[in-house]
């Protein structure tokens, strides 16, 4: 039986290399990297100084938003990035929003771990502590005293999908996926499934996250996954000398729609979710399974679920974090899953340009992929000097080439592997 189709009819993104999807391609072709000294967190005493941060003040984008959202956005960077992504696209999306029915529209977002930005509240924490009080609960109770259900800090994670639900009149469901680096990839996969399962006709799927906050930045640094610039190394995915990732931040969404919705409303789709693969390692919380069995299975399942053959794949946007653990294993699994074709297919990671946005990695890389498809461009592994494997077609230069079918991979801490198969519908 033929599967119903799920199309991507719109998308938007706030990324350290693009304040909106339209800026992506210029960043890619001009080989821009967002790796800069961090502004929002004082890294003076840290063994690393850089991250991929959205440098521009975003508040101009959402100046007409409700006061409580504006206030919460000033503290919760994840919310701010998402709010900015919505307002960036608001006008353009109005005709689509007008077509949506409340009971047939849902939202699903991948969300990163919440952390109070302690650096904003140094003085308050010090004062509460000197008064003999437990500082963080006192501070949060004080900040959250308002008449709406929106907290200024420590919101339930659902606040993000509910925020978009209000904007898109999405009543069918408002889901939040909390699976670290695959959160938004799974959100897109499950959004696709909910259309196939007739839970909704339109789903706004994506995610938001920021590592540029004192607690997560130190946590990832202490875990040893951010390279210390003192040693002269940077985030260099697939390089023999790689030793860590580039902390990032991003937010975005795609609008997924059923075939019926697209046909009824005479919409020209931009892409199609062909299928996905999703598996668990069940190995160790701290490291991927070195055998790569489940990672390989996720890639294989993405192909079989899509009805695609490896020979049809034109490009792979790899997870490629630049960490010791991920990159070589990812290549091995691509090799096992795709056989001989793995040697031909151009592969690149773009994390050395826009950073690792953790829960928003999947949506950032999907939006980027859709722009690459539109502009018939394949991005290079920007900082690759000495490849960790010569068997694969790891792109060393940006290439002008048509992409019809592509895979986009993401893998998470705790051993979760999610791969999307995407078709270019602009051809």
């Amino acid at each position: 039986m033929l599967k119903n189709k799920v199309y991507i009819i719109e998308y938007e993104m706030i990324s350290p290399i693009a304040l909106g999807k339209d800026e992506f391609i210029e960043s890619i072709t001009s080989n821009k990297s967002a790796e800069r000294v961090v502004d929002r967190v004082n890294t003076d005493g840290f063994p690393f100084k850089k991250a991929a941060e959205v440098k521009k003040d975003l508040s101009f984008l959402y100046e007409n938003e409700k006061e409580v959202i504006k206030k919460a956005s000033k503290i919760d960077r994840k919310l701010e990035l998402l709010v900015a992504a919505y307002w960036k696209s608001k006008k353009r999306l109005e005709p689509i929003i007008n077509l949506l029915k409340e009971e047939e529209t849902g939202t699903i977002l991948g969300i990163g771990s919440d952390a109070l930005p302690l650096e904003f509240f140094e003085e308050e924490i010090k004062n509460y502590t000197l008064m003999g009080l437990n500082p963080v609960p006192e501070l949060e109770t004080y900040l959250n005293n308002n008449s709406s259900k929106v907290n200024l800090v420590n919101n339930p994670y659902d606040i993000h999908s509910l925020y978009l639900a209000e904007k898109f009149k999405a009543g069918a469901f408002q889901k939040s996926i909390l699976t670290a680096c695959v959160s938004s990839t799974q959100a897109i996969a499950l959004g696709y499934e909910s259309i196939l399962n007739k839970e909704a006709k339109v789903v706004i799927a994506g995610g938001t996250d920021s590592l540029v906050n004192l607690v997560p930045l130190t946590a990832f640094g202490k875990l040893g996954v951010i390279p210390e610039t003192a040693t002269g190394t940077e985030c260099t995915p697939f390089d023999r000398n790689r030793n860590g990732t580039l902390a990032g931040e991003a937010a975005g969404f795609v609008i997924l729609a059923s075939e019926e919705f697209v046909n009824q409303n005479n919409i020209q789709p931009l892409g199609q979710i062909m299928g996905y693969g999703n598996s668990l390692d069940g190995y160790k919380i701290t490291a991927p399974d070195p055998s790569g069995i489940s990672m390989t299975k996720a890639i294989e399942n993405a192909l079989s679920n899509s009805g695609l053959k490896s020979s049809q794949i034109d490009y792979i946007n790899a997870h490629g974090t630049g960490t010791r653990h991920n990159d070589e294993l990812e290549l091995r699994c691509i090799g096992k899953a795709l056989g001989e074709d793995a040697k031909r297919i151009p592969i690149s990671s773009t994390k050395d340009r826009h950073g690792h946005a953790i829960a928003a990695a999947g949506i950032q890389e999907l939006c980027l992929l859709l722009e690459l498809m539109k502009h018939e461009t394949m991005p290079s592994n920007l900082k690759l000097k000495s490849p960790c494997s010569e068997e694969f077609n790891l792109l060393r230069k940006n290439k002008k080439k048509k992409i019809t079918y592509a895979l986009t991979n993401n893998f998470a801490f705790g051993g979760i592997n999610t791969v999307l198969a995407i078709k270019n519908e602009r051809i």
Binding site: D114, K126, E138, S148, K149, D158, G221, F413, G415
Partner: protein
């Protein structure tokens, strides 16, 4: 048709008052979990270091449940797992006490470099893993061998409705089994998160607890199922983020129901629970309050509602509606029937 093959759970019966704010005189009654260190399924010492207490007991009860059935390795490695999770930063003070001390001791006019150097040194090396939002799911996979389709939903009580709905879709699409798990860690931060969504000043009573349900596609001869799930539905309206008033519309979800019992949850304090009870009285159907039995269980509300339903089905009730409302007012219904 989707059947419930079996379930397991854990919950606290020991409660303590925890102070949230001395300045505002706010406290909450919180369930304190007793850990079953003697269990053969208790996690290894190195894993315990990065687990919240509710995750430890979730791992024990997941293994207890799956070990009752002789699932083959192949069945386990293909079995989907959908999890819902509550709060992740269980004990901020424990994790970041040394960082907070740096702030306390810091002279704000002092050298910024020195302060941030100290903060970096004081940050715990495993914090990113200790607060990992998919920790429960990844540890269940590690200890049980479940490796199929998966997701962790969070983190209000409606997440469990979504996890269960995803499980039902898997069964509908041909999987033989699927595990759905929920784990709620109650603490002062979960209460701060929830209390400001409330229309009234809360006298909070939050509990830690969790559980697992195995869904099955068929009635197996060798494995007796406990009941079937015949309906799942939820409110299809966008919640209002700017109005704290609770608008009870469960009756709309219950329209046409012939169920003999309603099991409900959603309240975080007694006053709200009493109003829920009063509202449901109009239906003239017996009700059971999960809050009254356990306190507010967050994402575990629905799991305990279903387990309570199964107990009643065993006692002869033929059809039960398990209903819940999350802190944003999203309502859901799961219908269980004798089979």
């Amino acid at each position: 048709m989707t059947y419930i093959l079996d379930h397991s759970s854990f919950v606290c019966d020991n409660f303590e008052d925890e102070k949230i704010s001395d300045l505002n005189n706010i406290s909450v009654k919180i369930g304190k979990l007793s850990l079953d260190h003697e269990s053969e399924f208790f996690p290894t010492r190195s894993d315990q270091k990065v687990m919240r207490d509710d995750v430890k007991m979730s791992i024990v009860t997941a293994q207890e449940l799956l070990n009752k059935y002789n699932f083959s390795q192949k069945t386990l490695s293909n079995m989907p797992l959908f999890v819902s999770n509550g709060s992740f930063f269980g004990n901020f003070e424990k994790h970041l006490s040394r960082v907070l001390k740096v702030f306390k001791d810091a002279s704000l006019e002092g050298s910024r470099i020195e302060i941030y150097k100290k903060i970096y040194r004081a940050s715990p090396p495993l914090l990113a893993i200790e607060t990992l939002t998919n920790s429960n799911m990844s540890f269940i996979a590690q200890y049980t061998g479940l490796k199929g389709n998966n997701a962790t939903f969070g983190n209000t009580s409606t997440s469990t409705y979504y996890a269960l709905n995803q499980g039902l879709n898997e069964i509908k699409n041909g999987e033989n089994y699927c595990m759905v798990s929920a784990s709620n860690g109650a603490n002062i931060y979960s209460h701060i998160m929830n209390r400001s969504t409330s229309e009234v000043e809360l006298t909070g009573f939050e509990n830690t607890g969790g559980g697992h349900i195995i869904l099955s596609r068929k009635k197996h001869n060798d494995k007796k199922v406990l009941c079937k799930i015949t309906k799942m539905t939820n409110t299809k309206k966008v919640p209002n983020l700017y109005d704290k008033t609770i608008k009870r519309t469960w009756i709309e979800l219950l329209k046409g129901s012939k169920s003999e019992l309603i099991i409900f949850s959603g309240a975080i304090d007694q006053g709200v629970n009493d109003k829920d009870e009063q509202y449901l009285k109009a239906l003239n159907i017996p009700t059971i309050s999960i809050f009254k039995k356990y306190g507010y269980l967050g994402v575990s509300n629905l799991i305990f509602g279903i387990i309570e339903g199964i107990k009643n089905i065993k006692n002869g009730v033929k059809s039960i509606d398990v209903i819940d409302r999350d802190v944003y007012g999203r309502e859901s219904l799961i219908r269980l029937e004798l089979c």
